[in-house]
Amino acid sequence: MNLLVVILIQASFYALLGMGYVLIYRATRVLNLAHGDLMVFGAYLFFQALAMSGGSLPLAIVAAALGAALLGALVYLGVMRPLASYPVAVGVLATIALGLVLRTIVTLIWSAQTRYPAELLGRSGRPIALFAGVSVSLIDTLIIAAAIAAIVGFPLLLRLSTVGIEMRGVAENAVLAAQRGINIHRINAMSWAAATVMAAVAGIFFSIKSRLGPDIWYVGLAGFAPALIGGMDSLRGVLIGAVIVAAAEVLAALYIAPQVALAAPFLVLLVALWIRPWGIFGSREELERI
């Protein structure tokens, strides 16, 4: 039972990260290799807000989310928008460069020292015992709630709200959407902002559960595994991808070795790319046979 809960928590973490990859991919057709660094940046914003507000969790989360949204929109407008007409590879390279710049900014502002935001939280970070030996901490509940909200809420938003419909239109055919009077840059900036907020929430979770340092970006990078397994342009695919990756990681840590768990997302990804390169629900347009 406890194992299932652990997998659920880990899957929520991956679902949030993976949805960020999918949102950005749908908006700009780019595999965002800077996502891990966006996650780290969001987590540091949270840490800063937490330190300044004297340990108030809600205030810090809201401040970090606002900061992350601003960062995401700025990244789109400053970096991705000028590269819109270039080949996909250029965009991917640009996100690598962006990741380096973000990592340097983080190190210069907050230093490379490892921090533990959980210490600032005090009691609210402690696990709460539930039924049958299952214990869940407040932050675990929050991450599950955030993931469920994102998984349920986002498709609803895409289906029902005007912004959501415009987002789908841009993802489907940006040129047609622009001709119908949709401001595609506003919509794409919003996609980037939403993805960065999700990354920040995942980063907040990880920094409280484990630690915070500029080097945790690779944890965020592992989030592209669920996105690719599920299909880069499919939101519901991420959910399944996240569960698969989380289960593989938790089970590998338990039954094989903790070191294998680190590589587990990539191993699963390799197998998935082998069998079904376009993902479970992804569209096959990117592949071709000569």
Binding site: L31, V79, P82, L83, Y86, P87, V88, A89, V90, V92, L93, A94, I96, A97, L98, G99, L100, V101, R103, T104, I105, T107, L108, A112, L228, M232, F266, L269, L270, L273, P277, E286, L287, E288, R289, I290
Partner: protein, 355 residues
């Protein structure tokens, strides 16, 4: 030949189109560059000669990456892994059979060629994003593989490479290395220039522009993609082998993600697809960290950052890559071309043709 050394617009023979030194301007600067390259080690201190040697090795490796990414348009994120493969081929041959450099360098080239075919096979089906992911996977597979080999053979500590000797002469000093590496780098430059002006280069560039159209023109796309991967990886492994000899020590830690980013920075900052640009990019990327650390010592504002000069380096690479991608996608080569045409055309502003 027209005035001011511009390449002639009137060409009466296809041979004019593929000339290497097609104008007085190019001839003059090629001669100057060669002259400077020959005088350089006599002027530089031992430390800076070592830096120049690193540049020469980087030129070979970056040209290989440029062949793949710039000329053929196939993204590769496995470059550091291929450099590692070359370096470890040398290490393994020396550790097991004590092979001389005359054997290890060709062996590295062959290993690279085979590796290129293996990695290139998925590239026949994958494009863009998926090719990036699969070459990145190749990077991790190679790094894990050579890491396992290293811990099995050398108990994890790495391999010491003795100084090689060519025709009985031991290459020990940095200055001796310079005169070994310079012809190799020049050879790599000539090789790439020749590829570009031959049927191979034209086929690769056609694939870069549109592979379906290239196929329709009768180019065997699968064959030429594999050839590009194979040639690029082979050259990369040679660079890795030279790196191993020059550094005199091979350990898997040197080939992490940072090395890949350095090579990507070289071809992007230099200008994708341009041989001259790639060389300029290699100089820029190898020399920049030393300039930053010198500046960090001299300038009071930067010296406050103290131990962060490595982070600063990484950030400057990233920022430079971003700026070039957004503002000058043709890289240093593009800037050079613009400056060159400005002076050649002066007092006129525009030229009527694209060269």
């Amino acid at each position: 030949m027209s005035a001011r050394g511009l390449p002639s617009t009137l060409r009466t023979d296809f041979r004019d189109d593929v000339q290497l030194l097609d104008s007085g301007f190019v001839r003059f600067w090629a001669a100057m560059a060669l002259l400077i390259a020959l005088i350089l080690p006599l002027v530089l201190t031992n430390f800076w000669t070592g830096v120049a040697n690193q540049v020469l090795i980087a030129v070979v490796g970056a040209l290989a990456l440029n062949l793949l990414m710039g000329t053929t348009g196939q993204i590769s994120l496995g470059h550091a892994g291929f450099v590692a493969a070359g370096a470890f081929t040398v290490a393994a041959l020396i550790a097991h059979v004590d092979a001389p450099i005359g054997v290890t360098l060709p062996a590295a080239a062959v290993v690279g060629a085979v590796l290129g075919v293996l990695v290139g096979l998925p590239a026949l089906r994958l494009k863009g994003l998926y090719l990036a992911v699969s070459t990145l996977a190749a990077h991790f597979v190679i790094i894990v593989g050579v890491g396992q080999y290293q811990s099995a053979i050398s108990y994890g500590s790495g391999f010491t490479i003795p100084a090689p000797s060519i025709f009985g002469l031991e290459i020990g000093s940095e200055r001796a290395w310079y005169f070994v590496l310079l012809p190799i780098a020049l050879g790599a430059i000539l090789l790439n220039l020749n590829w570009l002006r031959s049927a191979y280069g034209r086929a690769w560039m056609a694939i870069r522009h549109r592979d379906v159209a290239a196929e329709a023109l009768g180019i065997n796309v699968a064959l030429y993609k594999l050839l590009a991967f194979s040639a690029s990886t082979s050259l990369t492994c040679v660079a890795g082998a030279l790196w191993a000899y020059h550094t005199a020590f091979v350990s898997v830690e040197a080939f992490e993600f940072d090395m890949l980013i350095q090579y990507l920075a070289m071809v992007i900052i230099g200008g994708l697809g341009s041989v001259l640009g790639t060389c300029l990019g290699a100089v820029f990327v190898v020399v920049l960290p030393h300039v930053i650390s010198i500046l960090a010592d001299r300038i009071p504002f930067l010296s406050g950052l103290g131990g962060k000069s490595f982070d600063l380096q990484v950030g400057v690479f990233g920022a430079a890559m971003l700026l070039f991608l957004i503002m000058e996608p043709r890289g240093l080569a593009g800037i050079w071309a613009r400056v060159r045409f400005y002076f050649q055309l002066w007092p006129f502003k525009y030229r009527a043709w694209e060269s």
